[in-house]
Symmetry: C2
Subunit: 150 residues, 2 copies
Amino acid sequence: MAREETQVLEAFLHRSVPLTKTMGIGVHRIDPSGIELGAPLAPNRNHFGGAFGGSIANLGLTAAWLLVHWRLSDRVPAPTVVIAEQRVVFARPVLRALVARAAMPDQASWRDFEGALERRGRGRIAMAATVEGDGEVAARFEGSFVATSG
Amino acid sequence: MAREETQVLEAFLHRSVPLTKTMGIGVHRIDPSGIELGAPLAPNRNHFGGAFGGSIANLGLTAAWLLVHWRLSDRVPAPTVVIAEQRVVFARPVLRALVARAAMPDQASWRDFEGALERRGRGRIAMAATVEGDGEVAARFEGSFVATSG
């Protein structure tokens, strides 16, 4: 995806969910296989100068949500995608900038999800993301999202 | 707890985790049995005018974390409390201000936690919180926190 397109998606994200702008979330890369987001430490710091657990969780959530949203955005009208459930396991503190990556689920799961969306106007998909700090995995995010036809 | 004391705790929260100030989180009430926090919709809104799932999750996390922190804050030095794991189930959208409540865990669990903190300098405690919008439970938060002696 061209740099200009990641900027358009980033502007959409900041406009849609203002907290993501406060968090300084940037779209580094998005393509049909996955997404990478980043965020600086300063607006996301906690009481001991590391990253706030809530910011770490939100960066994983946002990566997974934005990838699902983007993959469905050529549908007319675009479905609404919301989170239904999430689990986050925090493995280590983050003392620098954050990077989150989410990959597309396997093709069969995605086909089932799109099929349910087409047939019933509603589908559910499980997504995973990792959040890194200093190049090491700091947290693992797993979440289910529900898409509803607009 | 007197109004003045909730303001002191709120100022501590905003200073420690700046994102909680952006989210507009206020401390409504805290006492040895539990805590209630609130947040307005505007800084926490999502792409369809409801509350962002990440904000809902963070309000539950913050309620649980702040209660543990506060209950341990008379120890010298005060332990550091961080989140280790969380699960959030979202039951319904929130279209107005958010309210989160966390209660103290049962006394035996809390005693085990404080005992581990004293003996080994490290303890783990499971906490739960609910997040409401419009007086209905919108999400249930469950998380484990690890405290380490300072």
